[in-house]
Amino acid sequence: MARVLLFGRLRDLAGWRERAFDPAPATLFALKSLIAGQDARLASALDAPGVRAAVDRNLVSGDVALAHGAEVAFLPPMSGG
């Protein structure tokens, strides 16, 4: 199982904030392919410039393996302050 979290405009676009994928895809890219099969618009937004991914609360670049129970967050361009 992998938990996927969406923030900001990604959450509005998808219509959900958190979803479990069971069994967990083997890698981040495999997870994205799975999402693309369900919601092409969301998958495209996840690949847009400025969107980052965090796995188990660490920012990652490129593909990474997902352990069982992984928490994957997709983070659109950030703006606080």
Partner: protein
Amino acid sequence: MIRLTDQPFDPGAELNRFCQGRKRTGAVASFLGLARGEEGQATTLELEAYPEFTEAEIGKMAAAAAARFDLHDAWVIHRVGAIPPGEAIVLVLTAAAHRREAFEACDFLMDYLKSRAPLWKKEHGAEGSRWVEPSARDLADIQRWE
């Protein structure tokens, strides 16, 4: 100290707490961001964070600022959730021996918060809602430190 809160906070009380017992500190810079009431429009801000991750990431940047600018301390207090006009959004406090370091560290941390910290800001106004992304100026500002 990094703190996210969904309740209003008291900037003056935080400033005074920050200054207590600082024997070596000669300079305390602060920045306070307020939710603006644009020309009478009732715009409400909504700030979203990724709990724990957001605090940890801001904490890393505060530690980097402390090392780079030789700070005695740095605090970031950031409001999350719905923020009505006039209320405090963010307070950054920096303490150093001299003013240049305190100012620059405070400026640096604000630039970071505006374009790199894991926070997402939505404006709810008369014409609907929109997610705010860093402005061209915010993106230019953060480049100054690289």
